[in-house]
């Protein structure tokens, strides 16, 4: 192994007075004063959020505007802080568009005071219905305000592009009688 001998000369007379070093330091700090500011002035300027950011969990609709959640309650079971509470309900008979699904949530509540933003609900969801999106700031005056109900969750979630159209494929397969 090569040994590198570091050159440690004794300080020169000028260096012992510290004055050249102090002046050099002053020069550096003075130049810094004219550098562009690095501060992001938050409420007006927002940070760019990366795509896989884990923000507030939300419910999303599919591109047809139907709710994706089938009320399987996997997220409710997997949620470590027990922040999710789902009240399952049957799908209305008149809704011919969604006869292939058995259930939909009657009520869906996520308590943001309990949520730890772990993303397990998103990971476990077989329908890709619950997604942690880019909202990172929630606030309210009371505990009740910070429990997001179904309406709020869909408002926050909106519609995301679908890659699979899982139920369309299932429906087609059922009509054709193709059992894989």
């Amino acid at each position: 192994m090569a040994i590198k001998v570091v050159d440690r000369r004794p300080l020169t007379w000028a260096e012992k007075t510290y004055i050249p070093q102090i002046l050099a330091g002053l020069r550096i700090t003075f130049k810094k004063m004219f550098n562009p500011r690095v501060t992001l002035e938050y409420p007006e300027q927002r940070p760019t959020i990366p795509d896989n950011y884990r923000g507030v969990p939300t419910l999303v609709r599919d591109p047809n505007g139907r709710e994706k959640c089938v009320s399987c309650q996997l997220c409710e079971f997997v949620c470590p802080p027990k922040a999710i509470r789902i009240t399952p309900g049957a799908i209305d008979e008149s809704d011919t568009d969604r006869t292939h699904i058995e259930k939909a949530p009657k009520e869906f509540e996520i308590n943001m005071l309990r949520c730890i933003y772990c993303g397990l609900c998103q990971e476990v969801c077989p329908e890709e219905a619950i997604v942690l999106q880019d909202i990172f700031s929630t606030n309210g005056y009371s505990r009740e305000e910070l429990v997001n109900n179904k309406k709020k969750l869909y408002e926050l979630g909106g519609t995301l592009p679908d890659k699979h159209f899982k139920w369309n494929a299932k429906k087609k397969a059922a009509e054709k009688g193709n059992a894989h």
Partner: protein, 371 residues
Amino acid sequence: MDWTYIILTVLKAVIMVAVFMSIAGYTVVAERKVASWIQERPGPNRTTLPIILAIPVIGRIATRLGLIQLPADGGKFLFKEDPFPGHVNKFYYILAPIVALTPALTTMVVLPIGQVTEGCIHTPIVLANLDIGMIFILAFSSLSVYGTILAGWSANSKYPFLGGIRASAQVISYELAMGLSLLPVFMWCGGTLNLGEMVNAQSGLLFGFIPKWMIFFQPVSALVYLTSLFAETNRLPFDMAESETDLVGGFHTEYGAFKFGLFFVGEYAHVTMGSALFVLLFLGGWSLWPLNIFGVIDYPEGILGGVLSTIVFVLKTFCLIFFFLWVRWTLPRFRYDQIMHLGWKRLLPIAIVNLLVYTIGMAVYVKFFHA
């Protein structure tokens, strides 16, 4: 003594205190601003009132510059709850912040801020034109360390106590070098201790373009005095009394609300005072350089000259205050033993040798060349 004279004097004193205190207060804001600029941040730029934002352009600029920060901070110090720890020595605990601020305000009595010329006679603008001005300032400004020591001791707690002890040791060490560095300056100025006359001694030019400022004649004195000034005002890199990195808050750890505010303003009042003094002693006060290169010899007569000289002096003082802040965010803090080493083994010998050299030099000059 008639009443108008008394009323006028009191009025002048009140104006002087008000202006001085606001400059000291705005030094706090300037500190935060300079700190943030050096760290590439914008600094305090939000605090404002709707009525100020309503002023078209100026309101917005003032807000961005943090000019409204001072009333907000002051108001906060005034109105927040004043904590009073149960374990303190009550009398000295209350006395300490007062003792810390008072000397800075007292020394300003003999601080000339400009001059009025009437018929070729220069009268400095000053509250009390004392012939022992500089001695008065040296005597009073070192009193402020009692505030620090009393605070450290009366708080009856470990960190303030250490801070107080360090501050007292530091001030004693640097007071010597400071006094010795000033002696050659007094001699050079013809033995006067009156600050106004010392400024007059520095007017004029050397070789037609260098100002006759003391910093060019006595650079060593200026350096020693400036270093001691940093130590005396407890500014970084000599921040022994506060040393927030290892003593929590140092001497004011147990203080809060308005009492802390007094310490805080007191520190910056000393910075302002120190800068003004350095300008008077070494940077020629309100002398007219560089205008006197082009033949402008003196300020106009009367009020106009008074105002102009005051503006020049205040601007110079601001530059030096900026230098204080600038150094704070450049140099790291010394260790306690390094401060003692620098004070006793470096600055004091340098000051003594400097004094001897200048004394002998001046004596030789007067004996053989001047006569």
